[in-house]
Subunit: 357 residues, 2 copies
DNA sequence: TTGTAGGCGTTATCAC
DNA sequence: GTGATAACGCCTACAA
């Protein structure tokens, strides 16, 4: 009785109720223009209830030509950031009756996962943490796509304000009197990281501080990456007094490196992360950071996608010019505010240090 | 062109190749007993390739009466443990051509999510972190189910050896000379926690140590739960010298409470977690713990489920006695070994302390 | 070797 | 009001 062999179908309900199968369908879908005799409707509903009839969503999808399922593509759960985005996304999707097909992809197999999703007729896809620009354009262009944390002229997107995050970081550190500062982050095509770096660098430049190349340290966007990078920073002949990291994972790695090297936070060095993941509150001192509303990013991404879906569904049932109508208007891009969260790793600059680079 | 309006179908391929649609199907499915003219096959394959034909998995599912999709039910990603289980599961599923439908459920909406999954005709379900016993049995009994970390007589399961974990914890702490020890964990129906506690308590009892009720502290299975619980432990008139926590999250909360209270780890107190999540290596000193192979749990759960699926698929195509044949044999239960990981939070007992309770 | 017929479980559009 | 009929895209017989 496993593979649906014993499932009750609409036909079964019809047989028992002594009506035709389409009539059952008519009643069950609550179609407004379904004018059926009250007593028939009553009987059918009762019987359906009794034998536990549940419509087969796959069959529905086939005829409706939409599956009411969306794909969510994330890079890895090692970063809790994406777990939270996913969580927010799943919640909203479930509430709206959509299923979430999960794809956790490395750089290599993104295309295959995407194809698998398309083969399953997902109505749309949410892409987080994987640069859309690295995907073959043809894989995407017949799909409804919403990007998370990567603004795009081509697709709709929902992003935390990464550039503002960088600016906030700079402002915070400057306000504490730091003048010799560093940045640790990946050399990547992921826009969020680039924007954080840019916002940071430009805000510094605005007050006359230019980051020399040894103060922009490249690291993988992970704990170990941050750890290694911070070791290099600490080895510098002329250490910075503050470090801003591209994300909390990197910052936590850096935090650990400081601990191991006996560098006191924040007295010897100020350290600032970005994202605000829970792990940041576990270390001592707790990590100062820039908050990105992770769950909210996922939730909004889904809402945006669903709105797109409704739009294309409506227009495609109307005229044939569905794609045109949608593509004509610029894709919506939501930017959610970033917020500084001061905890224990940032403090005033050591007096006398780094007044000029 | 969004909702599959413009998708190429097998019929389209057939038309262009000048053959019938079933012939295309025959060739594309690589059916062994499909004896088609090499040149026809060649032509069809070429054309399919050219116009980018991809079979509609939904339509396939409808006729095959199986969707090649599985559901994964997890409680929350706030605990990285489940994120990793999910990750392992997704990987194996994807490799086998199965889709993963994600359901993140609270205690309340588990049933609805389960129904949603069934409506979508998932071939099976993996349940982690949600007590199967709390689910209405009827929701489960026409489904292929594999439980993670909760042994069951009714369903197949894959679990870390939680009882052994408790024993290892006890042995480790005893070996360090601790005699007055405490346990922090939730009062829950989740078997893994119960087993950890039981293994721990019984191993202690085996050497004549009985945990008084104030040394078994109840806490929510979260960081904040652990934090609150440890505060209570520290307030005890007669403090234990070592504490074992039901999982790492709790232990990390406890770790934090110690830091706040100025209790030095491991000199003043030994602290031991369970699971081995990455966060444990970020705190100072790093958390000693019992490793549970999280990703492996997810991976094996899927493998087990897939094996079940193949079995029921095979038998149901053979005789009609599918369910019987499967149910007759006890459901397979895999137990993966736990392993002690000694890091920085466990050390020898303070001399003179707690030689007797 | 290939085409034709039928069906998977729904929904939508008609005649009746 | 209700019941055929025709899709949706695919696959498995069986017939040609």
């Amino acid at each position: 009785m496993r593979f649906g062999k014993g499932r009750v179908t609409a036909a079964e309900v019809a047989r028992r109720a002594g009506v035709s199968q389409p009539t059952v369908s008519l009643i069950l879908t609550r179609n407004p223009k379904a004018r059926v005799a009250p007593e028939t409707r009553e009987r059918v509903l009762r019987i359906a209830e009794e034998i536990g009839y549940r419509p087969n969503r796959l069959a529905q999808a086939l005829v409706a030509r939409r599956s009411f399922a969306i794909g969510v593509i994330v890079p890895s759960f090692d970063n809790p950031f994406y777990a939270h985005v996913l969580s927010g996304a799943e919640k909203v999707a479930a509430e709206s009756g959509y299923a979430v097909l999960l794809a956790e992809v490395g750089a290599a197999d993104a295309v295959q996962h995407l194809q698998a999703l398309r083969d399953r007729q997902v109505d749309g896809v949410i892409i987080a943490g994987v640069a859309a620009s690295t995907l073959p354009p043809t894989e995407l262009d017949d799909l409804n796509v919403v990007l998370v944390n990567q603004p795009s002229t081509r697709f709709a997107s929902v992003a935390g304000d990464s550039e503002k995050a960088g600016q906030l970081a700079a402002a915070h550190l400057l306000g504490l009197g730091h003048r010799r500062v560093a940045f640790i982050g990946p050399a990547t095509s992921i826009p969020a990281f680039r924007l954080r770096e840019r916002g940071f660098v430009q805000a510094l430049r605005a007050v006359g501080i230019t980051l020399s190349s040894d103060l922009v340290v490249r690291a993988e966007a992970s704990i170990s990456g941050g750890l290694a990078a911070m070791r290099r920073v600490l080895a510098l002949r002329d250490r910075p007094t503050a470090v801003f990291c591209a994300n909390d994972l990197v910052a936590l790695g850096a935090h650990k490196a400081c601990g191991a090297a006996g560098v006191m936070l924040p007295t010897d060095l100020s350290l600032l992360g970005c994202d605000d993941i829970e792990m940041g509150t576990l270390v001592t001192p707790e990590l100062s950071t820039i908050l990105m509303p992770q769950r909210e990013l996922g939730a909004r991404a889904v809402r945006l996608l669903l709105r797109q879906l409704e739009a294309t569904a409506a227009s495609s049932s109307g005229a044939a010019s569905a794609a045109g109508a949608v593509a004509a208007t610029a894709p919506p891009a939501q930017v959610l505010p970033a917020r500084l969260v001061v905890r224990g790793t940032t403090g005033v600059a050591p007096s006398g240090a780094g007044s000029a680079s």
